[in-house]
Symmetry: C3
Subunit: 259 residues, 3 copies
């Protein structure tokens, strides 16, 4: 696939998707959303890619939906746009690889939703976050979905109701991001976290990620049922057996190739 | 309705409900609970009211249920009292306006439940919070319901099991309140937060508040289904259209009246 | 029951279970898991025991499952082992008494799961926590179940994906433990917290604990239904009546014996 709005790179075993529509503040038009989804799926299928970083070029990480596009849409068109956006967010969580957002600048509305939907996030100290629809005419209802699952409820409501920006330190304290670093180091730190988060067996990590999102929504009893079965059966995989043998032999484990 | 235990005021576009039974430490008798519920519903229906502040007079914010009333109740009477209380808490979340608790002093048991059930809360630095039933003879089971949805589980259990008071700074760290300010500024800060939280389109905010409480309890997939539909249809409202036009025209938006 | 791997003590009204397999880093073999479960159940039934502390001897709190045992198990054997482990974790939450983990040293994988499954936890400043399977060949899927219910999601994913150790201060900030104290005070502080958490009516606390775990998984409406009924009926118990009379008489309450 040829991309117009995103850059797709592979550096060793890292995939990197970069929003590259800086003149439009990386606004998430339906075309951008479909390219991002395709880029994630392409990288996830590439042989060496063990983790994916989502970055952006220009003065803004992403300003969210493209209001000039929204202005011309009818109800069905809006359902298609927002459905594609929700599908992008779920795709990030459905990939077998960890996805790390690298937030170098302000991320608002759907841009904030992208950060919240990544498994992990590293922010520059100058980054800011907002869901501004709440103080205007169109509440950020879809961006709210992942934000309300990360933030303590009264913090989420404050952000959503006021529409005010929060700074990177606040985003860290409220659980929206994992790290805050000086702006000139944010890309290196995001890559470093992606590498730390993708060590070991590819298959074990992929199963763990899938199980995390499946069990986090379940009550304790069915969550344990699912987890016990997955952990029992995965104990018999080649990579689990290799870990156990290596541990008992006091030697480093050597895992199978990615797939 | 004439009120005996609460004061009901409107200041510009803010509604203010004030617990005013200081000699009884603002204890939540069934009469007080029914007056609070009626006061919220009355203010929510008043023309200019865009947000509601819940405050209290006297040395205590609220000491919770009125034990002298509980002492004389049978099982059906207790069901009626606690059902009315639960209905009050749900009413605060069901109102279209943001509700901000203004906690100038100690709030215990049902009083702590009121703070937890407000959308947002501002506390004085001298305020304290407790669920004391846990170290006595009647566990704070109904106050626990909103507290357990705000606090990290081990913090909630510590508060509920020990019955110990936590101070305002701890309440802020644990997510029970949004702000802590000097006591002489708590009312102004609560009003200021209520105003910040109620800017923009009244209808968009009301839809956003309703969607928050409906989707926060759902798994990701049905939450997104509901959110996509609500965000798509609300993109066609007059206020959403006005925001988009104003944004594209680089002018301030002018929203429709409250209703 | 005679125990080989755990010590079981009663100090006044505290039960103390101590993992005592230091040469094997307190690894959780099926035998250890079954002894821990039996020890909890035995102490819970003992007359004076109002709270239980879970501690450990040796340089490690617990290293989790015993990989030498896992190495020799087939699928059914693994299901039995992990099912027994999940049953142990649920038992800690099903006991009527508060359970306080006393974590003097590193707790990894199933050891971290034990800490997360206790109602409360006190850690030494030198304690550390990790779910290392995520950077090896066998993801910590069952330890994830309680960890994902305590930590904000992006913190949980960072811990699970990287497998890195977090220190005690981080565990406190992320909600995995309630207190961090100097190592030479950790046992006294765990006992003190267990005593503070078990004051008052034994029956009221037991009902409160059960209601906490039942309602925390429910949406608001059915949670309130259950809580209203439990709080109404418990208002008629001897201990609730005694509290109310004592409160109104301004005298200390005297509660019934444990059962």
């Amino acid at each position: 696939m040829a991309y117009e709005h995103v850059l797709v790179d592979v550096e060793d075993d890292l995939g990197i998707v970069t929003l590259n529509r800086p003149a439009r503040r990386n606004a998430l038009s339906e075309a951008v959303i479909r390219e991002l989804t395709a880029a994630f799926e392409q990288l996830a299928a590439e042989a060496p890619v063990r983790a994916i970083v989502l970055a952006a070029n220009g003065p803004v990480f992403s300003a969210g939906h493209d209001l000039s596009e929204v202005a011309s849409r009818d109800l069905d068109g809006m359902r298609r746009l927002l459905g594609a956006s929700a599908n992008l967010m779920r795709t990030m969580q459905a990939l077998p690889q960890p996805v790390v957002a690298c937030v170098h600048a302000i991320a608002t509305a759907g841009g904030c939703q992208l950060v919240a939907s990544a498994d992990l996030a590293v922010a520059a100290d100058v980054a800011r976050f907002a869901t501004p629809g709440g103080r205007e005419g169109w509440f950020c209802i879809t961006p709210m979905i992942p934000v309300q699952r990360l933030l303590p409820p009264k913090r989420a409501l404050e952000m959503l109701f006021t529409g005010d920006e929060i700074d990177a330190a606040t985003a860290l304290a409220w659980g929206l991001v994992n790290r805050v670093v000086p702006a000139d180091r944010v890309r290196d730190e995001a890559k470093a976290l992606a590498r730390r988060a993708s060590r070991g067996s590819f298959g074990a990590k992929a199963l763990g990620k899938r199980m995390f999102y499946e069990t986090v929504e379940l009550p304790l009893e069915p969550a344990y049922e699912k987890a016990v079965e997955a952990m029992a059966s995965s104990s018999l995989t080649d990579d689990a057996r290799e870990w156990i043998r290596a541990f008992l032999d006091k030697r480093p484990a050597v895992y199978s190739k990615k797939r």
